[in-house]
Amino acid sequence: MSLVIKVDNVRKRYGANEVLKGISFDVNPGQVVAIIGTSGSGKTTMLRCINFLTPFESGSITVGDFNLTPNASRFDVRALRKKIGYVFQQFNLWPHKTVLENLILAPMMLNGIDKTTAVEKAQLFLKRVGLLQKINEYPSRLSGGQQQRVAIARALAMDPQVLLLDEITSALDPELVGEVLKVVREIAQEHQRTLVIVTHEMAFARDVADEVIFMDHGVIVERGKPQQIFSNPDQERTRQFLNRILSNDGF
């Protein structure tokens, strides 16, 4: 089951610097949305606000039945986070735990499932990301791409209805990007989870996203179907950004 996400007029500032200037958008259940934009455009901050990793000043976040404002209780925030899987740019696996332990800790502790079930589930998700054979390794024995795939499996093991992916290939060597994107592509094609993807991989965004949002200086400049955004954007700022990015990319 996937859930609707509604972001309503979210504002966030760091001192005098307003990084989110009243952002609003919504994502339909099962939809895949890619957020693109330059570094410093506020896209990662936006994503972090959705599951309250970054506190914001005003506005509200709705995920399914949950509607949370900046002064939401810790209890509600935790309930929200359980529904949302978050994958970080730097993987953030726990180095003192094996791959399996990374996957079963949160489900056993928070969803109250027993170890046998948790392990079965972990095996299932590791198989999906193609890393079942690494189940008893420590993260430090894995390549960056493998670590990131484990991180995706760890997020999936909580059965989230929403998945937020924060520049998940930016810390990877170029030759490892493909294996991670392949996994995400498969998840996206199931349309069982609502996906919000912050990414610099334009080709990937064009392929998997149902819609693309372009952010710049803390505002949403433009939103539309990938074909439209990438080949015929309405806004001059979008055009300039894409020209700059795509000429480097050999798109």
């Binding site: 978050y86 970080f88 740019q89 730097q90 993987f91 502790m109 993260p139 024995r141 670590q147 990877l172």
Partner: protein, 232 residues
């Protein structure tokens, strides 16, 4: 030309053995008490309650600043006056040594916890864990690995510091040896023997700490997301 007389050492070896046993016992008690106390102080220092945090800071600075010898004498002579309780020299030594050690343990524990990147904390929170759950499941197990080498160093120093207890006549190695000197007038042989006995006690500890350190380094090289390529 000085005439060394080593037979003396073998005649009185029971003095060194008994002294060493008291030294070890004193150190073990001070290490246990100091570690428990220091860990509590470290968490007090990290408390969100400003007053608790300030008190912990004051405690750490106070007991790091006072020389152990001064603290030892102070505890031994002042506690009986303040609390109307004649504290034994041994207990006063345990107390003074552990108060001093706890301040250093507190700083070691705090630094080890703070050395774990906040991204480790976030990845737990993002899954829906409470800050306490993240602390006990994710942060502390990693921090313990970081603090073990430093703690081992502190414990080894503590064994040497315990010789200060001789000042208030605790029957540990140095004090027993001083008495022996006053009876035999052979300070050079006896102090040499004392040095050797300390060496015998400390070398195994150094060896253990090295083994532990190597073991910890082997089971996980923390990656914290960095791209250490081992697979190709």
């Amino acid at each position: 030309m000085y005439q060394w007389d080593w037979r003396l050492i073998s005649v009185y070896k029971f003095v060194f053995v008994q002294g060493a046993l008291i030294t070890i016992w004193l150190t073990v008690l001070a290490v246990i008490l100091g570690t428990v106390l220091g860990t509590l102080i470290a968490f007090a220092k990290k408390s969100r309650n400003r007053i608790v945090s300030w008190l912990a800071l004051g405690y750490i600075e106070l007991f790091r600043a006072i020389p152990i010898l001064v603290l030892l004498i102070w505890v031994f002579y002042v506690v009986p006056i303040l609390l109307n309780w004649r504290i034994s020299a041994f207990l006063a030594s345990v107390l003074a040594l552990s108060l001093n050690l706890s301040a250093f343990v507190a700083e070691t524990v705090r630094a080890a916890i703070e050395s774990i990147p906040s991204s480790q904390f976030e990845s737990g929170l993002a899954l829906g864990m409470s800050p306490q759950q993240v602390m006990f499941q994710i942060i502390i197990p990693q921090a313990v690995r970081n603090m073990v080498p430093n703690l081992m160093g502190l414990y080894i120093s503590e064994l040497k510091n315990s010789s200060l207890a001789s000042v208030i006549a605790v029957n540990e190695l140095l004090h027993r040896s001083n008495i022996l000197i006053s009876e035999t007038y052979r300070p050079l042989e006896i102090y040499t023997a004392v040095a050797v006995v300390y060496l015998i006690m400390i070398l195994p500890l150094v060896w253990v700490s090295r083994v532990v350190e190597r073991h910890l380094a082997r089971i996980d090289k923390p990656t914290f997301g960095m791209d250490y390529e081992l697979s190709h």
